[in-house]
Symmetry: D2
Amino acid sequence: MQITAQYRTVRERSMQLCRPLKTEDYVVQPVVDVSPPKWHLGHTTWFFETFLLKPNVHGYTEFDPDYNFVFNSYYETVGARVVRTDRGNLSRPSVEDVLRYRDHVDAAMEAFLQQGLPDHLQALFVLGLQHEEQHQELLATDIKYILGHNPLLPAYGHPPYAATPPAIPTANSLRVPEGVYEIGFAGHGFCFDNELNRHKVYLQEYYINTTLVSNAEYLAFMEAGGYADFRYWHAEGWDWVKNHQVKNPLYWHLVNGQWMHYSWQGLQPLPPEEPVCHVSYYEAYAFAAWKGMRLPTEAEWEVAAPQLQWGMRWEWTESAYLPYPGFTKAPGAIGEYNGKFMVNQMVLRGASEVTPPGHSRITYRNFFQTPLRWQFTGIRLAK
Amino acid sequence: MQITAQYRTVRERSMQLCRPLKTEDYVVQPVVDVSPPKWHLGHTTWFFETFLLKPNVHGYTEFDPDYNFVFNSYYETVGARVVRTDRGNLSRPSVEDVLRYRDHVDAAMEAFLQQGLPDHLQALFVLGLQHEEQHQELLATDIKYILGHNPLLPAYGHPPYAATPPAIPTANSLRVPEGVYEIGFAGHGFCFDNELNRHKVYLQEYYINTTLVSNAEYLAFMEAGGYADFRYWHAEGWDWVKNHQVKNPLYWHLVNGQWMHYSWQGLQPLPPEEPVCHVSYYEAYAFAAWKGMRLPTEAEWEVAAPQLQWGMRWEWTESAYLPYPGFTKAPGAIGEYNGKFMVNQMVLRGASEVTPPGHSRITYRNFFQTPLRWQFTGIRLAK
Amino acid sequence: MQITAQYRTVRERSMQLCRPLKTEDYVVQPVVDVSPPKWHLGHTTWFFETFLLKPNVHGYTEFDPDYNFVFNSYYETVGARVVRTDRGNLSRPSVEDVLRYRDHVDAAMEAFLQQGLPDHLQALFVLGLQHEEQHQELLATDIKYILGHNPLLPAYGHPPYAATPPAIPTANSLRVPEGVYEIGFAGHGFCFDNELNRHKVYLQEYYINTTLVSNAEYLAFMEAGGYADFRYWHAEGWDWVKNHQVKNPLYWHLVNGQWMHYSWQGLQPLPPEEPVCHVSYYEAYAFAAWKGMRLPTEAEWEVAAPQLQWGMRWEWTESAYLPYPGFTKAPGAIGEYNGKFMVNQMVLRGASEVTPPGHSRITYRNFFQTPLRWQFTGIRLAK
Amino acid sequence: MQITAQYRTVRERSMQLCRPLKTEDYVVQPVVDVSPPKWHLGHTTWFFETFLLKPNVHGYTEFDPDYNFVFNSYYETVGARVVRTDRGNLSRPSVEDVLRYRDHVDAAMEAFLQQGLPDHLQALFVLGLQHEEQHQELLATDIKYILGHNPLLPAYGHPPYAATPPAIPTANSLRVPEGVYEIGFAGHGFCFDNELNRHKVYLQEYYINTTLVSNAEYLAFMEAGGYADFRYWHAEGWDWVKNHQVKNPLYWHLVNGQWMHYSWQGLQPLPPEEPVCHVSYYEAYAFAAWKGMRLPTEAEWEVAAPQLQWGMRWEWTESAYLPYPGFTKAPGAIGEYNGKFMVNQMVLRGASEVTPPGHSRITYRNFFQTPLRWQFTGIRLAK
């Protein structure tokens, strides 16, 4: 069964990501943006149970009615839930119980899939898989945060995915002429509602770099006093720098005069040629200002994407996360998926080294608040 | 002298706005967004002293060097300043001292202008006037807040400006066909840097209402339970509603079962036909969602503007405040004017009943953070 | 009329304290502990109106029913009130209105007193005067804070009261032998409920200094690194020092290498021989620990008081503010006077340079929270 | 070896308390006052390693130098430490590592004890045991909090200690005549520094109840509107009630109209005759005020103790936690044990159902901040 195999592959990948963890690592929530790994494992399972099994499988036995309260993330439609900041206070359900929950739901799902999925549930099923892939990316970023903020700085061991860095384009910069272009998803296959409708945009002529800003380039910005010069920053970014005493990207440590970074292998010397990672939108903007350039808009990015090296970092754009023309929400809980977050966030394009293989595409719109850095975020310049 | 008369007119208007105040009203700062009226009077004066008189008038005697610390608003280039939240803690300089400061600077400015303003200072001088006009709008909104949040609800007396409501268009709604349009300032006269460059945009076909949403229509939303139904709100807007227990626009009071609002004449019955005022972006968005419509983008607004009734409310748009293509900052302190605020704010278009006459235009880009309501903000619908 | 004269004297003293102020100085509240001077003027008036005139004077016309909301301080019995932190947001009632309020109430009070005060109201009347005297001390401390935290550091002019420093005892230290002593108020005249009952205590032998710690002695503690050595501090005091980066008493400024302090005459060189002032309990405790001594208990202080030089500073004791044996609260609103504050505060004994003449006595129990410094607080050592 | 057996008994009891836990339960910190169980296990071990093994055992190999940072609680003398609020963010060291740490230190300690403990280390060794017993009480209270605040309300299983409730005195109330009494530790055996010196106090005649306030009596207070009537509360307690919307003791739940409480066996009907538990000082004070009585002082408690039923609850007293006459701190890190907490806390006397057997005595002074409720605190009345 093609569809069952697909289900197993996605579900198994979540487990795979957690293998190097100790039981204790599944439990903690060092900051509000990070969720405990066992919560991700439970929440993605809860999605299949709540939206596919319970309404559609006659005689399905809910694993534990209390789990609805524990593993609902933000679906107001579905009822009360544990406050986000409290996820790290929950020692129960135990990891073992969560794995039993996964087994229980997986068995029911596979039995359900064997019978052949009705047409009207196809989209929801695919959304469940896409949803779990999104949480796989969060699992990886949250695990890095949990281990990377432990005073013992334990190593995870190896990168979550075997990285095949994309080929390096021959030209450093690409010129795109003025004119009307089309952006947004078209064609067959899955896309999120926020990638629709495909629509025309008018772009002025622009130049966009084919590669990302490297650690070495970013270090030059730091050494030139970039974090101490308000002129490069948004007013709000400058407050952020001062209030949090930000002096470098997340996970960077100056050890005996040498810049190190916390990586999957623990604390390691900073590789100068790699794309800079774990920067906020404020930092991306300030770096670009220091260079006399700017970040691309999401339309500029998408139009140029076939000719860029991308896929190693989520790339901050100069576009706020807003609905495309003709955007509509699905009815019911699934409609809470994207639209309600379209305010005070910036769009990121591309994919990162911890994006599950095949998950992203050039029309994909990721989004985060401007100060966040725990994602694998990087910088591309335009002008 | 044309230019001196212009200077006097603008400067006098600030004084005029404050005439109905008692000395005590000039001092307080009930919330961080509001500044004490005497601070506005001093800060606009400081602008002329700092950027025109001190660098350009030989032998000019600074009124008081300490005022630089007190009246600098956000110009990092110009040095340390009183923290914004502390403005309401300053009993000195007294109102009398601030008025003497204005007289001192006005005398020096008029003498300077009599000599003929050098060409290279024309732009800066006009910016000083425009800046004071912007603070005149803030003066009006801040005065309303100060009096309207006093438990005695004292009246200001009369509207700051004689209102001539714009004519009502014959059609309720306007259709604009798909195509390439131009937006941004062009031609002679003053504009802010954020209105440039004039550039092409591609718009899909849209409909836009020719009039604003009225109090009566908004009341219908309230009575239909709009503030209690998460489906109409951004996730962040819904948190805002719950955390602040928002149930109606700012200045609305339910008194013995009748809706009243605090107005320039004190507490008055709510006029049903007037455009709703003092709503946040969240509320504007939720109202539109409840109506099955949306807010216009700023480009849609600007293209349609000649055929709309506008000028009574600043109208929330669905556009984030971001630079236009080709936007560049002026060098030095003046360059801090707009660019550094281009993050996490939404654009408002139009003008309000307290915008100084002649200050706004259809390319004008106002901007505020999404929860703010003390400005005279309203709602126009599109689809 | 003896009693009318007494009333006038006390009431006039409040006005006298405010004479050097500008209108704007009456309005602001730079920190939550400080109240605007016009609030003190109104609140003390409200006390007489609420507790004496309204219940007892037939036909008395309340000045303004809304003032009850504005000028109630903490009497839950009497109804809703302006939240303490909001007092500085009130531009109205204006100073002029508050003075008219005082005149209105004073006229009614004097008429009432002329008729002869009924016996059962004598105690309440005296409490009203004592209450106003307590607010006179707060007026002085709050005025110093308001002017002393203004960036222009304006002078008040002269000390509020002509200071006759008490005679200096011949011995530096006093030995008190072990035994049973009595403390608490006895005899005729007014005392607060918290000074009762007079009762026996058992004291171990102790030594107590006859004079207060001077600025010079305190400076020695600072220069010996007292603020940087956790060993002298309570855990909670050490957190306070670090969180607020405390390095010296309130109002001290190091200007070009010289220690200055803000005084009634503005910024002045620190007088080395004067008793140190404006220190928190934490600082008093740490200084004593550094000296290898301790603060006296309130019983030790009271027993020794006739032989000490006191009256220039409120002296922190090592006694928590708790009820004396047999303490009882009066019924009704007046019963809220003292008892409900008997938790998490320390007792201060003596009087300060801004305590109204005749207000304090050796059984008087003042009390504040441990971090507070805006009162005229000093240090006496014991062992 | 008597001393080795004593060491083993105490150390084993900590392990015993944790047996019913799952690995995940060792990790979380739902509020700042609660520490993760594995932290208690590590910290008590760190005490022996740091103060006994490292300075005194030649050739002792430190288990892991990083543990000093993780397991130091509040000893400033000993260096930097994990901020208290961050204890629940530490997934590493794992529980397994902490148990290996305990084994490592226990083996070294037992070898050290076998050689005969030098005289000058006897006191420190006993302090180490007493310290671990104090953490055993915290372990029990923290475990109850962790499980009792989990939405699944898992049971611990059985009370940590077999309870033999003390005999019930025949008289309900005890009269103690006025006079001089002695309190504080005397005689042989261990006591904490805060129990010294033994000293005379003068007490007025008082009555003290021989038994504690029961759940049924406390419920009567609730049903009489005790939480809604400010007159019974300290001002600060009343703010606490309103800000936290407190309506009942901690762990009480109203389920379908019946009062339940979370106990070691999970959610159970409230036993009316048992002493009320988990109340703050504010609640104890308010209950006493409602009864027209008061809490005893610690001296009153200690003088009457031989004739009271005590040992089931820590009993709030009306005494602030302050030094006894002649109190001195030990030099060095051990001197940080008690003295630095002697501010803004109240004394509790007695012992609770989770106090390790033999740990408390009638001179024992426990202390907590006034709002805390997660300890097994109860109420005794006096007048």
